[in-house]
């Protein structure tokens, strides 16, 4: 009945030591009950140890070495971290990423919120508008990349054709200009998307009584927005802020598909930086150092947001 794993060498379970049959059964069941959660969690534990904890520790060690996979790693102290700060290519990608985080995250948050508020106004045809608003977010990245490549293209592109009509016949080289290209990506990703959906879900959860009470107190719409709606949305804002901040460091597929990170590293972001260091130049030490910096940054963001959340996130029921 009991598997050997469950009734391992546990002294209390040894039949010779157990005082009585009933007692022994009770103990056995108790023991099994205590072990069962860990059995359910066994795959999770193995996963955490092998594919999460080990890689993090491994990166930490290798970030202090020169390592190209083929030869054993050589300890060089902090040189990788110093080299990263010195390298032009790396610095450019870091600046691109910081700019992206600083502009695209707040921008996306505000746009998502505005879209959600707009799609929460009770007008006729609202279900249709909501469905239509979700459509752009459902286009897979490969499709979207091709379309935006076309839209921003120099000759037949929609943007440049529009500029021509406005009286700028020469247009602008968007994706082939090393300075302009990162702005194209930043601009492209400022859209509501899934953040809008989450805000919309949050808006449905604001109790109607609060709006009624505000109305009776004679609050204007703008006051209601700032005193009722936005505070009630703060848990959703926190969630969106966390996911979009972390997501900003994951930005990878669209530049890879559209420009390959070019020209001259103009659209290389953090993820691609790690990828290229590891798999193109086999600078595993650099890649490890970058991975570790990313690890520290992401944990710092999570820690700070959770720490400060008590002061600006409102949980209904004082949770």
């Amino acid at each position: 009945m009991t598997s050997p794993l469950l009734s391992g060498p546990q002294p209390g379970l040894d039949p010779a030591e157990a005082p009585g049959l009933l007692d022994r059964l009770a103990r056995g069941r108790n023991f099994r009950r205590r072990l069962l959660p860990f059995l359910f969690l066994l795959p999770w534990f193995v996963g955490v140890l092998t594919f999460q904890a080990y890689p993090i520790l491994d990166s930490f060690y290798h970030s202090f070495t020169i390592y190209d996979v083929f030869q054993p790693a050589k300890w060089i102290g902090f040189r990788n971290y110093v080299n990263l700060a010195d390298n032009d290519y790396t610095r450019k990608a870091l600046m691109n990423t910081l700019l992206y985080v600083a502009v695209s995250v707040p921008g996306g948050l505000v746009v998502g919120l505005l879209q959600a508020l707009l799609l929460n106004v009770k007008v006729r045809g609202l279900p249709l508008f909501r469905t239509l608003a979700i459509v752009p977010g459902t286009v897979p990245v490969a499709g979207a990349a091709a379309v935006f490549l076309f839209i921003w293209s120099p000759n037949l592109g929609l943007i440049n054709s529009f500029l021509k009509i406005l009286g700028f016949p020469r247009g602008q080289a968007w994706l082939t200009d090393p300075v302009m290209v990162k702005w194209v990506f930043i601009f492209m990703t400022i859209q509501g998307g899934i953040g809008m959906l989450i805000f919309l879900a949050g808006l449905q959860n604001v109790p109607q009584e609060l709006y009624d009470a505000a109305k009776i107190d004679g609050a204007k719409s703008i006051q209601t927005l700032f005193k009722v709606t936005l505070p009630m949305l703060t848990p959703y804002t926190l969630f969106n802020l966390l996911t979009s901040l972390i997501g900003a460091f994951q930005m990878f597929a669209s530049p890879m598909l559209m420009t390959g990170g070019g020209p001259a590293g103009g659209s290389t972001f953090y993820g691609q930086l790690i990828y290229e260091n590891a798999f193109r130049y086999f600078k595993m030490g650099h890649a490890a150092a970058l991975s570790w910096i990313l690890f520290v940054i992401s944990m710092l963001i999570v820690f700070l947001l959770f720490r400060t959340s008590a002061s600006w996130v409102y949980y209904e029921g004082g949770n």
């Binding site: 969690l41 795959p43 999460q52 959906l197 972390i246 597929a253 999570v302």
Partner: protein, 299 residues
């Protein structure tokens, strides 16, 4: 409060037609319609552009005003052209294989872990959940390189094992978290009743928890299929061989190999790659709202 107001509205319908109120309401709605129209125009422009240009010849793509959304005549040459360039059915098969290989083991292992976190008491459960949340918020790039080196050492690169094995180990912290939140919200009485009838945890999970969690499980299925359809990093690392490439990777090669004159074929293939996901998301969105509202994000 709301009840009283609606009642009043029905008893004194004239109250709705107080002139000033009505006028301001109309103006507000007009502004809302205008803003929604502007927003939807810009949001849908790229999608409409993709569909429109997939059916245009290169000559028709030159922009004239007013923009000709429905080309005349319509050409299907782009689709034929794009279809011939690659073995798209093979890439579709690979994408679906990736989805299935990840989906089944992930669901099994994550459901078990989430059940333990949600429904069982054990020392350190809070702390381990916190650990899970930290991994959920950690970018994939942090562990990417050492994972790859590990899998390469074991000779798994170029096989489907990098998709299957980590999936068996509940390496989807977001799914563990979301399922745990959902499982926790299921009333305890149901599982306690089953326990009194002599059911053990596995049977409770199978007979009580899973049937009640259909919306959230459906959402997870949609999300994993969408991941397999969208992800670039995983195929780029582990499915590089032409016979294993997924649609995203194939599109990357296709886009890269096209010059400035092949926009038609590119738009046509974008339409074909996008349509299944658009349909899936249309059906998946209701699970999204349902799952999200019910689960809550308040921890």
């Amino acid at each position: 409060m709301a009840g009283i107001r609606t009642a009043r509205r029905h008893i004194f319908p004239a109250g709705r037609f107080i002139l000033g109120m009505r006028a301001s309401r109309t103006i507000q709605h007009a502004i809302a319609y205008l803003l929604i129209a502007v927003f939807l125009f810009f949001a849908l422009l790229p999608v409409a552009w993709m569909f429109s240009n997939a059916f245009k010849t290169l000559e028709q793509m030159r922009i004239t005003f007013p923009i000709q959304w429905i080309p005349n005549p319509v050409t299907l040459e782009n689709f034929a052209d794009g279809w011939r360039a690659r073995d798209w059915l093979l890439h579709l098969r690979n994408t679906l294989m990736l989805a299935v290989f990840v989906l089944i083991p992930t669901m099994a292992s994550c459901i078990l872990a989430a059940y333990a976190f949600a429904r069982m008491r054990f020392p350190g459960s809070e702390l381990l959940m916190l650990l899970n949340i930290s991994f959920m918020l950690m970018p994939d790039f942090v562990t990417m390189v050492p994972r790859y080196v590990m899998m390469a050492r074991m000779g798994w690169v170029g096989t489907w094992l990098p998709a299957i094995i980590p999936s068996m180990l509940a390496l989807n912290p977001a799914m563990v978290f979301v399922l745990r939140q959902f499982f926790r919200a299921i009333p305890n009485e149901l599982s306690e009743a089953a326990r009194l009838d002599g059911c053990n945890d596995l049977i409770i999970l199978w007979r009580v928890i899973i049937p009640l969690s259909k919306p959230i499980l459906a959402l997870q299925i949609v999300l994993i299929i969408a991941w397999a359809w969208n992800d670039l990093l995983f195929p780029l690392l582990y499915l590089k061989d032409k016979s294993m490439q997924t649609l995203t990777l194939a599109m990357m090669g296709f886009i890269g190999s096209r010059g400035d004159t092949q926009w038609g074929a590119m738009m046509a293939m974008s339409v074909l790659v996008s349509l299944p996901m658009m349909v899936l998301s249309y059906y998946g969105q209701r699970y999204f709202t349902e799952g999200f509202t019910l689960t809550g994000i308040k921890g």
